[in-house]
Amino acid sequence: MKLNVRGGVQVYTICLALLVSCIFTVQASAVTDAERIRDLERRLEQSLKVIESLSSRVQQIEGKVGTVETRVQAAEVAVQDAGAPSGPSQADSILSQLTQLHGFADVGYVYSGDRATPADQSRGFTLGSFDIYLTPKLGGNTKALIELIFEYDAAGDIVLDLERLQLGYAFNDLLTLWAGRFHTPFGYWNTGFHHGLQIQTSAIRPVFVDFEDAGGILPVHGNGLWAAGGEKIGSGRATYDLYLTNGSRIKGVTTAGGDGELNANNVSNDNGNYHVGVNAGYEFADALDGLKLGAHWYRGKVNGYDPDDMDLSQSQLHILGAYAYFYDFDWEVIAEYYKFYNKNLTGAVGTGTSWAGFVQVARTIDNFTPYVRLEKADLDQMDNYFNQQASGQSYRKGAAGVKYDLNLKSVIKVELSHTNLVDRTLENYNEIRTQYAIRF
């Protein structure tokens, strides 16, 4: 093959051009790869930083979860060490401190021979009440106690009660001043247990200190001001309660054909008369640790209204009482005595004397707590305060039962009782009651 010069130059030129082109192409390619590598390195560094950040965050979260688990485990260990029957009570306690919400609930069964009560109300399964209370931490010296209760009334309608609404200020240990609706601080039972069925030994309250709408004859709720406090005296501690309330009235007095039920005057004072009361007690220490003795006094005017809300009468309610409470875990003894010096201020005026009292003794053996209670009320039927109330009749009652602690927060009770109604109606009947009560 022959090449001419012109043709050879062209070939060389083309080859040279191709060569230069290849060199530049290779150089350009090398530059692009370097940039890509640097870019990839930069991205990798960023990814590593993100991974490190996420890893740190995960460790923080795991640490917090671990701390919470450790706290709960520590609480459970403490409970187990303490020999609790079962259940993480202290763990629950930690949680409840966070929520500040507590409460009670109970269900049961009752079989009563009370012929005065319709059979459908005295025999069968019962729903007790669902009670919740809050003790919010407000900081400083301010306090609050709010309690709501849901329950069914005798007609089967659900009722919501603002049981307590107390706003208080603690000046010191000697004086906390509360305002609002509270449990009237007379005797021990009324403030000690009230709707807290799980913490009370017996299935039901003594009849005469029952709630106003459940057969009670005392103003167990008050709306007003309440000063309370205590001071160490000797080895023990003296306590006091001093209160001023709207008092109560009797709605639909029985003498005018009504239901005759006390009403706590929650929103206003019907007769302009304020009720006053005082409760003084002493909590012993050392050898008598667990014993509290006290006395109380209460006075106020109570008006009676017919079913159409017409004011019919006025009575002076005047109570003087004493109580003893002892609890050392193995034994529980409660005794209360109320003496009434009531006066009819309208109609057949005059002063009558009545009294009511009870004694309850309980002994705890492992998870079982058998108990007995005797109660009696001799109520003057010429006293308007009593004869205008449906439950204001004299009675004797004996009860015996046993409480079984499933754990610290749930109990089962079985109670047998015998009741004698001795003046307005003459009747006696037996009753058996079971109850499953919890607190949380």
Partner: protein, 135 residues
Amino acid sequence: MIINRRNIIFILAIMISLAGTHVFADIYVISHVDVEVSAEDIKDIYLGRKEYAKDQQHLIPVQNAAARKEFMSQVLRMKSKRYRIYWAKKSFQDGTMTPQMKMNDKETIQYIMHTPGAIGYTKTKPEGVKIIKKY
């Protein structure tokens, strides 16, 4: 069984060894440095009966899960179950809150060091807080 000197020594040795298992651990009841309370107040504070110091400072008792059992038996002299039942009643009656629970000595000391009015208890001798009494 023949009662001789060797048997008596053997029985005494068993009794001594059993007694040794009931030796209590030290408990330090401690407070924040600014708290002015006496050892006689400790039980009342942990039962919610005393909420304020002499200078009206609000007291904040805390429990220590790691030393609770010893504190109950040596200081309050109460069964733990009774203490919990007591507080269930107390908080329902007057709204007083159950003392908070800390999980161990370290957490208890840290809380008390940094919380004016705080009171607690530990098994180990702490520093940076006031020791009210050693049991």
